[in-house]
Amino acid sequence: MSEPNQCQARAVALISGGLDSMLAARVISDQGIHVEGLNFFTGFCVEGHTHAIRNRDRKRAKRNNALWVAEQLGIKLHIIDVIEEYKEVVINPKHGYGANMNPCLDCKSFMVRKAREWMTAHDFDFIITGEVVGQRPMSQRRSTFPVVQRESGAGDLLLRPLCAKRQPPTLPERQGWVDREALFDFNGRSRRPQIALAATLGIEEYAQPAGGCCFLTDSAYSRKLRDLWQSRGDKHYELDDIMLLKVGRHIRPRPHFKLIIARDSGETHYLQGYRRRFNHLTMTSHSGPLTLLEGEVTAADVELAARIAARFGQGRDAERVVFDAVVDGLTSGLSVQPLAPENVQPEWYL
C-alpha cells in the first residue's frame, strides 16, 4: 500500500446533513481513515433560518442537521461562510438553472472546488461526497460527474463512496488508501439502497432522505428571487435580500414597490429588525402584522399599501384601520379603509 501524506490517510467530506453524505463519511471512516466534515453556508440553505422565525416552527427541534450528523459520526465539522463567493454561482451559472433557480451543477462544482482548496490548505488527502449516479436530474448524472471533477479541479481526488464501483478507480482507491471492494455501486433515484445501508450500519435516525436543503429548488422562493432581480433591473443581491425572501407574504401591487407582510408574531418580531432600513407600516387601531415597504414610494403608494396591509389584521372588516407609517424616517398617522377582497389582485402575490 502506498502511503498518503501522513501515516493515516485524511479525507474531507462534504456534509449536507442528509443521509447520503452521512453514509459516505461513515463508510470511509469505517475504513480507518481520518474524516472531517465541511458544510458550506450559501445563504440559501433551508437549514436553520426558518426554525427561528415562524411561530409554527418554534416547537420543532432546533438542530442544525450537519452538526448533528457530525456528532453522530464523531467527526469534526467546519461550517464555512461562502455567501459572497456563491453569488457568482447563482447570478451567472455556466450550466444554467434547473427546474427553478437552482444552479445545481455549478453549485456542486463550486463546493467541491472549495473543498479542494480546504483540503490543500489543511494537508488532507482526498475529498468524499454522498453523490449517487442518477440520483438527481441535473447534478448527479453519469455525464456530469466528470464535469464536477474537471471544473472543481479535484480530478481523481474526488471519491463518491456510494457509487464508486460504477466509476473508474480514483487515486485513493488506486493507492490502496481506500478498499474499493468495501465501497458501493448505488445507482438511480431509489432510496432503498441507502436506507438499507443505514440499517446495516445501525443508523436509525437521519434527516430528510435526500435533497430539500436549498431554497433555490423551491418554486415559490425562485419566483420571488426572479421578481427581485426584475424589479431592480439587474441580478444582484445582498444577504438581507435573500433572507427576506424567506419571510412573510410578498405582494407587489405596483412595479416599483412591494409589501412584505409578516404572517405571524414570530415573523413580525423578525421583521422588526429591519425597520430602520425600510419604510414600514405598524397597525395601531387593531392587532395586525408589521409590513415593510421595499422600493421608492409616493404618498399614494403608502396609502395603497396600508389598504392592502389592513386586509391582514383584525380590522379587515372595520370601516377604518389606523397605522403609524414610517416613510424616510418620518412617522405619521394614516387612517385607511381596508381594500375589498376582490380588489386585491391575485397577480400581486409573489
Binding site: 453556508f41 433560518h49 432546533k62 442544525n64 452538526l67 467527526i75 469534526k76
Partner: protein, 76 residues
C-alpha cells in the same frame, strides 16, 4: 487567559456558529468566549459545535430574550 464577548444577535443559524468558530480560531486554549444570540437554535447548535470540536461549554441558557453560550477553548 482572556474572556471575550461575541455579539451574534440578529443572526440566524448557522451564522452564530460560524461567527463563534471564526472567533475561536483567534483565541488560545483556555480562553473563554461568551456568545450572545437571539436565534433560539444557537442554544443547541453552539454546544453541538463545541462538543465535536473539543471545546468545553461552561454555560448555555436563555437570559431575557437572548441565548447566551459560554465556552472555553480546547486544545485542538
Amino acid at each position: 487567559m482572556s474572556h471575550q464577548v461575541l455579539d451574534a444577535r440578529n443572526l440566524l443559524c448557522p451564522l452564530p456558529v460560524i461567527r463563534a468558530q471564526d472567533r475561536v480560531k483567534q483565541l488560545q486554549p483556555g480562553d473563554v468566549l461568551e456568545v450572545r444570540c437571539t436565534d433560539p437554535g444557537a442554544l443547541n447548535d453552539i454546544p453541538a459545535w463545541c462538543r465535536i470540536n473539543g471545546h468545553d461549554v461552561l454555560q448555555a441558557g436563555e437570559q431575557a430574550e437572548e441565548v447566551v453560550v459560554t465556552l472555553r477553548v480546547g486544545e485542538s
